[in-house]
């Protein structure tokens, strides 16, 4: 049976209201403050280090995003940590709060489909993150120009903007996941805890587990071990398993983009490096290197959103 009428009816009003809610909420204030402060500190330190390290690097601006100084990690690593937190913060009570405030059936009794409510909330949260990211980007580029005194090249701007888009999809994965949880669990606290639990698992435990599981699937070869080398099969399995975590995909894609010297992510054999010319890759080639990871993040966003959509469509309106 086909339903009639547009699924987009009401998308605009829902999105505008959610945007207004996000921008005025205290939760958003705290998250923004957290991100800006950490990013600011990281960039400030990076600038000091960039000054002493590279005088002749053609990609000085990109260094601001990637250079670290122990014990502080670089800006994009911090972002990899904080973006999931921000996305979870914006999404964990998207749907269940409508049930708990008892506004759900009243809103759905208006001439809109559920599609509009879900998509509107998703797009509003994603735009909120997008706006914050853009502000952060302007801040960093501005600080970079001011403190380093070097105007950025067109390629640097392009690379860092593509980095923003990839970050946005990385946020999309976590946002879609937390919204899925907000549909499945009626209690916002449960949804938040499960989302944070998954985040902790994927960022802290999974890197350790991936290695252990890989050794079970493809045991280490003692001949390689005697030479102090990684067994290729084990190493390949470890990377494959690690890439189930969106954080890993994000890191690999960003490294390929922001560090033009990167020729490959993942295992690489010595013979593949023979005859290679050392130097920066053009933007197109860097994009090719980052493309599979970027597609992984985009696909993850879509799959999780669709999963949430299906569960939401089948859900009973009554509490």
């Amino acid at each position: 049976m086909r339903r009639e009428g547009s699924p987009w009816q009401g998308l605009g009003p829902v999105m505008l209201k959610e945007l207004a809610d996000h921008f005025s909420s205290a939760r958003m204030r705290v998250l923004e403050l957290l991100i800006v402060l950490t990013a600011g500190v990281a960039v400030f330190i990076a600038i000091g280090r960039v000054r002493e390290l590279v005088a002749e690097d053609p990609f000085v601006l990109l260094k601001l995003f990637t250079v670290d100084r122990a014990p502080l990690p670089s800006f994009f690593v911090i972002l990899g940590f904080l973006i999931p937190l921000m996305a979870i913060g914006l999404g964990f009570d998207a749907i269940n709060s409508e049930h708990n405030r008892r506004t759900m059936s009243r809103i759905l009794a208006q001439p809109i489909y559920r599609d509009a409510l879900l998509a509107g909330k998703f797009l509003a949260a994603l735009s909120t993150i997008g706006v914050s990211l853009l502000c952060m980007w302007l801040l960093i580029v501005g600080l970079g120009i001011y403190l380093l005194g070097v105007p950025p090249s067109g390629e640097e701007i392009a690379r860092s903007l593509i980095f923003l888009v990839i970050t946005l999809f990385y946020a999309g994965v976590w946002l879609a996941l937390s919204m899925l949880l907000s549909i499945v669990f009626r209690s916002a606290a449960t949804a938040a805890l499960v989302a944070l639990g998954l985040w902790l698992f994927l960022t802290l435990l999974w890197p350790m587990l991936a290695g252990a599981i890989a050794e079970v699937i493809a045991p280490q070869d003692p001949r390689y071990q005697m030479l102090g080398l990684q067994t290729p099969a084990t190493y390949e399995w470890t990377t494959a398993l690690l890439r189930l975590s969106p954080g890993q995909l994000f890191t690999e894609a960003v490294v390929a983009l922001l560090n033009p010297q990167t020729r490959a992510v993942g295992p690489i054999y010595l013979e593949q490096l023979q005859g290679a010319v050392v130097g920066a890759l053009p933007l197109r080639e860097s994009l090719m290197v980052a493309w599979p990871q970027a597609v992984g993040l985009i696909a993850g966003t879509i799959v999780l959103f669709v999963a949430g959509y299906i569960v939401f469509q089948r859900q009973e309106v009554r509490a």
């Binding site: 049976m1 009639e4 009243r106 009794a109 001439p111 809109i112 009554r318």
Partner: protein, 322 residues
């Protein structure tokens, strides 16, 4: 009955093996107040949600204003206003802001929005708190805001789920008045309630639910006739002129089923309609003096209870006969 705006035929909703609504049939005519009454969990809310296309129909069909709510829910929801049981609003927004959001969802043109919101709030007497946050509102005020939304929407059908539960008697009376006002404007009202006596005053016709089925349907007096076999009890206090007996005269009034003499000057007539006028005429015609005349309308509670007593008795009878 004029043209029906809502019709249900064999409407069924199953959750697994349990039928929450079991093959119900009913029609609601344009401009009437129709009550879905019965205890909690009898299937009233499920029926309402099926009419709005908010839950899937398992079997049978329902038409609202000629549309199938499953196939074309937007057309239905554009013309029907719904106030859910325990209606909620966004607490951090003011009453006006809440209505602006709904108005946008409905697609009311920006030029009309303000005026229609004002009109809606004025109708439910919330205009003076229009700019206060809904979080500060009482239960009854939120209900009224829900009604304002329906007024603003200019809905042709208003569906109100448990509109009076949890309200104090005064608010209940006020709310029922507002519902009647809607009816005078030509809005068809469908309301559900478990408080039978409270809403019987406003309902033109009612359907009594029991475990997912409609067991009784019709106007209150029809049901009274059907179940109690009378329903109207008229109390008359009158002194008869010497030598005349009033009992026989009362008994001769068409529609009177029985006459009981409660005391010397008090009579209790059971009738299938309101026979006060005829009773008064009978007293006067017999040269008697009339002191007091009062009609007790049949109460839905009594009808409902009696219906199940009758059913139980019938079952008992069948068992005894066997």
């Amino acid at each position: 009955m004029s043209e029906p705006v809502i019709t249900a035929r064999g409407l069924t909703k199953r959750y697994g093996d349990v039928a929450a609504v079991d093959k119900i049939d009913f029609g609601v005519a344009k401009g009437e107040i129709f009550g879905l009454l019965g205890p909690n969990g009898a299937g009233k809310t499920t029926t309402i949600l099926m009419m709005l296309g908010l839950t899937e129909v398992s079997d049978g069909e329902v038409r609202v204003l000629g549309n199938d709510p499953m196939r074309n829910p937007l057309a239905v929801k554009r013309r029907v206003g719904y106030m859910p049981d325990s209606v909620g609003f966004y607490d951090n927004l003011t009453a006006t802001e809440n209505l602006i959001y709904t108005a946008r969802l409905i697609g009311i043109p920006a030029a009309e929005r303000e005026q229609r919101i004002k009109a809606g709030l004025a109708r439910v007497r919330l205009l003076d708190v229009a700019d206060r946050r809904v979080g500060k509102f009482s239960h009854g005020m939120k209900r009224r805001l829900g009604l304002a939304e329906i007024v603003m929407k200019r809905a042709e059908i208003a569906i109100l789920d448990e509109p009076t539960s949890g309200l104090d008697p005064q608010s209940t009376a006020e709310f029922l008045d507002m519902i009647e006002e809607l009816k005078r404007e030509g809005v068809t009202v469908l309301l559900s309630s478990h408080l039978l006596d409270q809403v019987q005053r406003v309902c033109d016709r009612v359907a009594l639910f029991q475990a997912g089925r409609i067991v009784l349907m019709g106007s209150v007096s029809e049901l009274a006739r059907q179940v109690i076999g009378g329903g109207f009890v008229v109390e008359v206090e009158a002194k008869a002129a010497a030598g005349t007996e009033l009992d026989a005269r009362f008994g001769a009034i068409p529609g009177v089923l029985s006459v009981a003499r409660v005391s010397e000057d008090r009579y209790r007539l059971t009738a299938d309609r309101d026979v006060r006028a005829e009773a008064a005429r009978a007293v006067v015609a017999a040269n008697g003096s009339l002191y007091h005349l009062q009609v007790e309308e049949p109460s839905l509670d009594v009808i409902y209870r009696r219906f199940f007593e009758n059913q139980a008795a019938a079952r008992q009878g069948v068992r005894d006969a066997a």
